[in-house]
C-alpha cells in the first residue's frame, strides 16, 4: 500500500508541474495576449430604440416609393430583382448593395432603424466616410411626415416579409458573402461557384470574380479575408464579439458593424463551422467511445499486472 501511495505522490508532482506549464503558456498567456471584449448581447443599446409602432403597409409604399430603397437594393422574395448586376453594382458602389429579403430576420430592429437614418454612424465607419467621401447608402431624411414613424413603418415592412426561419448558409450569404470569399465551400463574392463544362467558361467566371475583388479591394482598402478556416483560426469569443462590433477588436477596420441579431450570429457561426471544422460533430461523438475503450483497456491491464506481479512480491 505504501508503494502505491508513493506512486500517487509522484504522479501528483508530475501533474502539478504539467498543469503549471499549461496554465502559464495557454490560459494565462492567452489572457495577456488577447484583449477580452464582453458581448453586449446584440442589443445595440448605443442606438436609439424605436418608439413608434410601425405599419408594414405604409412601410411597403415607402420602400418602393419615397424612401427609394429599391433604387439600389433588390428584394428577391417580393419579385423585385436587384436593379444592377453584381459587376455594375460593385463598380458603382464599391460593394454590391444587399438584397433585403431577409433583412427583417438578420438584423436587429433598432439597428435597422438607425441605419436607415444614419448609415455611417450606425455602421461605425465615421473614420472612413465623411462629407468629402460619401458612404454609398444615403441617409433617409423623411418623406414629409414624421421621420420616426416612417422609419418604424419601413422596419415593420422588412420584418413582415422576412422568412420565419433562415438556414446557416443563407444567413452567411446575406450577411457576409458580398465581401468575403469562402473557397472551401466553393463560394465567392459572386455566390456559389457554378460548375462549368469547359475550362474557358470556368476561367471567364474566375476573371469576373477577380475583377469584382479588385473593385472591392479599392473600396475596403484591402481584400477582406477568405473565411474558410476563420472558425478555427480565431476563438469563438473573438468571432462573436467581432461580428457584433468589429471596432472593438480592430480599431479602424473598414469592416462595418453588421447589426446581426444573436440568432443570426449563431447561424453565421454554424456556417463558418461547416467550412472550417466540418468534423466537429463526429469528433465529439466518437471521442468518448475511444476514451472509454482505453479506460477498459487500463482496468484489464491493471488486473493483468497484479496477477503477474503477485509472484514477484
Amino acid at each position: 500500500m505504501n508503494k502505491i501511495n508513493k506512486e500517487i505522490q509522484i504522479l501528483l508532482v508530475v501533474i502539478f508541474f504539467s498543469l503549471l506549464v499549461y496554465g502559464g503558456v495557454e490560459t494565462y498567456a492567452h489572457k495577456v495576449m488577447h484583449k477580452h471584449v464582453d458581448s453586449k448581447n446584440y442589443e445595440y443599446t448605443d442606438l436609439p430604440a424605436i418608439t413608434k409602432t410601425g405599419d408594414p403597409v405604409a412601410g411597403a409604399a415607402l420602400v418602393t416609393g419615397a424612401a427609394a430603397c429599391t433604387g439600389c437594393h433588390g428584394i428577391k422574395s417580393q419579385d423585385m430583382p436587384a436593379p444592377m448586376d453584381a459587376a455594375t453594382a460593385v463598380a458603382s458602389y464599391g460593394v454590391t448593395p444587399p438584397d433585403l429579403s431577409t433583412a427583417g430576420i438578420l438584423y436587429e430592429s433598432n439597428f435597422l432603424a438607425a441605419l436607415i437614418k444614419d448609415p455611417v454612424a450606425t455602421l461605425k465607419l465615421e473614420h472612413k466616410f465623411d462629407d468629402t467621401k460619401m458612404h454609398p447608402m444615403t441617409a433617409f431624411s423623411g418623406a414629409g411626415g414624421d421621420l420616426d414613424q416612417e422609419v418604424a413603418d419601413i422596419v415593420a415592412y422588412f420584418k413582415s416579409i422576412a422568412p420565419q426561419e433562415i438556414t446557416p448558409k443563407q444567413a452567411y450569404e446575406d450577411a457576409c458573402s458580398r465581401c468575403h470569399e469562402m473557397r472551401y465551400m466553393k463560394a465567392t463574392q459572386l455566390g456559389d461557384t457554378p460548375t462549368f463544362k469547359f475550362e474557358k467558361d470556368a476561367l471567364a467566371y474566375r476573371v469576373k470574380v477577380l475583377e469584382y475583388q479588385d473593385t472591392l479591394k479599392g473600396y475596403m482598402g484591402k481584400l477582406p479575408p477568405d473565411l474558410s478556416t476563420i472558425i478555427v483560426a480565431r476563438s469563438n469569443s473573438f468571432l462573436t464579439t467581432f461580428i457584433e462590433d468589429p471596432q472593438s477588436h480592430l480599431k479602424g477596420t473598414s469592416m462595418p458593424r453588421v447589426g446581426l441579431t444573436a440568432d443570426a450570429t449563431d447561424k453565421v457561426m454554424t456556417h463558418l463551422t461547416h467550412s472550417g471544422d466540418p468534423a466537429k460533430e463526429i469528433r465529439n461523438s466518437l471521442g468518448w467511445k475511444v476514451i472509454l475503450f482505453f479506460i477498459i483497456f487500463s482496468v484489464l491491464a491493471y488486473l493483468w499486472k497484479q496477477s503477474v506481479w503477485s509472484k514477484l512480491h
Partner: protein, 404 residues
C-alpha cells in the same frame, strides 16, 4: 554450417535459421529490470508508442499532403480535414502526439536528472537521449513548416535567420538554408524531405543506440542501488522470483508498462478529441502571408524556454546564450562531479539545484510565450541568468558533495 534438423514447429524452424529463441531471451525474457522502480520508468515505453503513433499517422497524412506553397495549406486544412474520411483524426493524433511527446521527453529527462541515471556508466544513455531530443526538435520544427500557415512561415523566417550568426551577418548561409531569399517553395520542399525521410531514419537509428546503451549499465532504480544483475537474475531463474531484486522485461516489467500506457492513452485521446488547440495554434490556421507579420511570433511550447534565453540579450550575446542552452544539457554527466548515484533528495545541495532548474525552466517557458514587455522582461532576464548560473555552480556543489 549449423546442422539443421527436421523442425518440430514453426518456431523451431525459425529458431534454427534465425536464432529467434536467443533473440527473445536477450531482448525480452532475460532482459533484467530492477523491481525497485515506479511508473516514471514506463515513460520510455510511452515515448516508443508515441513515436509509433507519429509514424503511422504520418504515413496516412503523407498520402494527401502536398509540399507546394500553393497547395500545402489547403491540402492540410481542406483535403485532410474535410474530404478524407477520418483525416482530421490522423492530423490531431499527429499534432497532439508531437506536442505530448515533448511533455513525456521532459518528464523522462527530469526523471533521469532526479535519480542520477546519467552517470557511472550510464553516460551514453543520457547522451544518446539528448541526441534524440535534438532530433525530435528538428522533426517538430520541420513538421511545423508543412501546413504553411502564418506561424509556419514566420517561425521559419525567424529560426533560419538565426543562422546569420548575429554580427557575422552570414546572409549567404541563411539563403543557402532557405534556397531563396525568403521562405518559399524550395524551403518548403526541403523541410518536407527532412521531416518525412531524413529525420525519421536518423531517429530510428538513434532509438536503437539509446536502447543499446542500456544493455551494459542496465536500468537505474529508485534508490540508485548498485545491483549485481548476474546474481539476482540467477536467483530469479532458480525460482526465487520473490527474493530476487530483478524481474524479466517480458512480461513482468511489460505488464506494468502496458497499464501505464493505457492510462496515458486515456489522457492522450482526451486531448486528441477535446483539447487539441494547444497543439494546433489558431494563428497557423491563417494561410502564410509574407506581407503580414502576426502580432506575436512564438514557437511551440516545448521550445519556449530556449527561445526565452535568446531574448534578454543584445543580438550576439543572445545567440551565444541560446547556443549554450542548446548544448549544455548534453554535458550534464561530466558537469556533475559527484560519483553518487542517488535520488536528488538524498544528495544535499543537488536537491536544491534540481528543483531550481525545474522551476527555472518552467518560468522560462512561460515567459517565452508572453510578450517581451514590462515585468515579463525582468522575470525572463532573471530566469535566464539563473539558468546560466546553475551550470556554473553545478560542478562546485557536486564536488562538495560527500561520497556515499
Amino acid at each position: 554450417m549449423a546442422k539443421i534438423r527436421k523442425a518440430t514447429s514453426v518456431g523451431d524452424w525459425l529458431d534454427q535459421r534465425l536464432a529467434t529463441e536467443t533473440i527473445k531471451k536477450v531482448m525480452a525474457t532475460e532482459y533484467w529490470i530492477p523491481k525497485n522502480i515506479n511508473f516514471l520508468w514506463a515513460m520510455g515505453m510511452v515515448l516508443a508508442v508515441l513515436f509509433l503513433l507519429l509514424v503511422i499517422s504520418g504515413i496516412f497524412l503523407l498520402m494527401y499532403y502536398k509540399p507546394d506553397t500553393a497547395l500545402a495549406f489547403d491540402s492540410v486544412n481542406y483535403t485532410i480535414m474535410a474530404e478524407v474520411g477520418y483525416g482530421w483524426l490522423w492530423r490531431h493524433i499527429h499534432a497532439v502526439g508531437s506536442s505530448v511527446a515533448f511533455l513525456i521527453i521532459y518528464i523522462h529527462m527530469f526523471t533521469a536528472i532526479y535519480y542520477g541515471s546519467y552517470k557511472n556508466g550510464r553516460e551514453m544513455i543520457w547522451i544518446s537521449g539528448m541526441v534524440l531530443f535534438i532530433l525530435f526538435s528538428t522533426a517538430a520544427f520541420s513538421g511545423y513548416m508543412l501546413p504553411w500557415g502564418q506561424m509556419s512561415y514566420w517561425a521559419g523566417m525567424v529560426i533560419t535567420n538565426l543562422f546569420s550568426a548575429g554580427s557575422l551577418e552570414l546572409h549567404g548561409v541563411v539563403e543557402w538554408i532557405r534556397g531563396d531569399y525568403v521562405p518559399g517553395d524550395a524551403f518548403l520542399t526541403r523541410f518536407f524531405m527532412i521531416h518525412v525521410l531524413l529525420i525519421p531514419l536518423v531517429i530510428m537509428g538513434a532509438i536503437g543506440l539509446h536502447f543499446g546503451a542500456l544493455r551494459i549499465p542496465h536500468v537505474n532504480n529508485q534508490d540508485g542501488e548498485e545491483i549485481d544483475f548476474d546474481t539476482e537474475s540467477a536467483k530469479y531463474l532458480a525460482g526465487d522470483t520473490k527474493g530476487s531484486k530483478v524481474m524479466r522485461f517480458q512480461f513482468d516489467f511489460l505488464s506494468k508498462d502496458i497499464f501505464v500506457l493505457g492510462v496515458f492513452l486515456v489522457f492522450f485521446f482526451y486531448l486528441v478529441f477535446y483539447n487539441f488547440t494547444f497543439a494546433l495554434d489558431p494563428v497557423n490556421l491563417d494561410p502564410a502571408n509574407g506581407l503580414k507579420t502576426p502580432p506575436h511570433i512564438y514557437p511551440e511550447w516545448y521550445f519556449l524556454w530556449s527561445y526565452e534565453i535568446l531574448r534578454p540579450f543584445s543580438k550576439d550575446a543572445g545567440l551565444i546564450a541560446f547556443g549554450f542552452a542548446q548544448v549544455i544539457l548534453v554535458f550534464l554527466p561530466f558537469l556533475d562531479r559527484s560519483p553518487n548515484v542517488a535520488p536528488a533528495n538524498r544528495r544535499g545541495l543537488f536537491a536544491i539545484w534540481f528543483w531550481v532548474l525545474l522551476i527555472d525552466m518552467i518560468t522560462l517557458t512561460i515567459m517565452g510565450k508572453l510578450p517581451p514587455e514590462g515585468i515579463f522582461n525582468v522575470i525572463g532576464a532573471a530566469a535566464t541568468w539563473t539558468f546560466l548560473g546553475l551550470w556554473v555552480v553545478l560542478p562546485i556543489i557536486t564536488m562538495l558533495e560527500k561520497k556515499k
